[in-house]
């Protein structure tokens, strides 16, 4: 089972916690590209998601983006303070900017995601 942070190609990150839960957020690269964040829609606690399924949305002045769950499981916590403090995503996307916590159905699912090195390569290869 992956012990460190993993990334989805859609730029969400997921980190397994000692508790067995997985914390999910969006990468610094994603936040920097979105700019002008104005709204975030969080899911209800208790909702189940599949890997790749949208669990919420984040809106900037110009466009709306889905947030995709990197793993399948049950959403057990959401960062309720975040939608009113979206600047946290820019300041601390990997800790205070966490978005949801999931109880994963299958912890080995994380191994299918990109590790830090692979994600960094993906970011470098982005047209910019």
């Amino acid at each position: 089972m992956a012990a460190e942070m993993r990334f989805a190609k859609s730029h969400e990150w997921v980190r397994p916690e000692p508790s067995g839960l997985a914390t999910v957020g969006v990468s610094a690269y994603a936040v920097a590209a979105l700019t002008d964040l104005v709204f975030m829609q969080l899911p209800a606690v208790g909702r189940r998601v599949k890997a790749g399924e949208s669990f919420g949305e984040i809106e900037s002045v110009k466009a709306v983006s889905d947030l995709y769950s990197p793993v399948s499981g049950e959403i057990v916590e959401v960062n309720a303070a975040l939608p009113n403090a979206l600047e946290t995503l820019g300041k601390d996307p990997y800790n205070a900017g966490w978005i949801i916590r999931i109880r994963p159905d299958n912890p080995t699912e994380l191994d299918t995601l990109l590790d830090q090195a692979a994600y960094d390569s993906l970011v470098k290869s982005q047209p910019h």
Partner: protein, 433 residues
Amino acid sequence: MRSAARWQREAGSFRQGSYNPANAWRFARRSSDQRPLPVLFPTNPRHMSQMLLQTPLCGWHESHGGRMVDFAGWKMPVQYASIVDEHLATRRAAGLFDVSHMGRLAVQGPAASAWLESLLTRRVAGIEPGRVRYTLITSDAADSGVAVLDDALVSRDVDAADGTPRLALVVNASNREKVVAWLRTKLPPAGVTLMDRTSDTAMIAVQGPVAIDIVCQLCDPLEAAQIRQLGNYRATTATVAGQPAAVSRTGYTGEDGVELIVAAAAAVPVWDAVYAAGASAGLLACGLGARDTLRLEAGMPLYGHELRADSDPFAIGLDLAVNLEGRSFPGSGRFAALRDRPAGRVRVGLAFDSKRSAREGNSVWHGDREVGVVTSGSFSPTLQRSIAMSMVDRDVATAGTALDVLIRDTRQAATVAPLPFYRRLAKAPALQP
């Protein structure tokens, strides 16, 4: 499952076949995977079609962090660092806009005034040099009797050396070719020449409470005084940063300011000079994103959204753009009928309590009854909430009426609000609460 692609299409599109997020935000789809993998970020300008037109300032935009998109066939910046920062800079200090993509047409000749007046919804034959008017351009449409081709600014320059009148039209980038084609079909065999000066010239807007101050720093004292004394919708000529310029006190932001028209070769020196002169005052370069949020707050229509080929100008609140008294133009009969027998939906503002934005095409509801459609919507940096313009049934158009807007799968509460949402104060650049 809600598709990100569908939402991206709904969100913030300039409908003029131009800034479509589906173009600007790239989606990758692997053959083995039916799901789109959304990549959240704008496409690289290097991947953009090499057929896009470029203003003389394109290189400046790219080297200053401009996120470039295809807008009406032009490579234009939608933002540099932050749309909100650019918007607020324009409200509080000054914003610098490259609007060279807009069409600039010159009409000249002994018969020019009478001819052009016969094709516009406003009079121009009797206006004096330096006067600017907001007008619509219409053509006859067989089925409906009228088609609105564009909204435009028409102005009269100083007469030519031989005493014949010279007029100028500034049209939307997306409508330039259509308008030129239409006007050419109506040209008489002699007495009028029509020239498209878009590629010979550039247009730069400087907008905001200190915009005039900044531009005047780049003129000699006499011309600076003339610019300061310019009334709204008036124009003059001046030498700005050593370059000849047409200077009009017009804009698309709701702020005071000017639009400068210069020769294409003068664009970069004038832009650089304004940018440098404005730096200490807080001037920021602004892209199309801020241009849209600013005009939305000011309640100004955008062709393709509030104004369309089949629009009733009176229902949109553009009564002042249509002068029917003792004159005619293509479609004037139909417009007179619309004025005399109002029917159909009308334009209203919608104010939301949340920051979730309605976008063009979202449906508007009064209880279980669908009563309208959103024509433009966005977050308002000045009001710190979302706003929209929409066409709604007349019986729900009263200010204060509670409506719902269906934004993706959720109903969002909104209140009918008078337009404009923002009006600048005469002296102090305070923001509305």
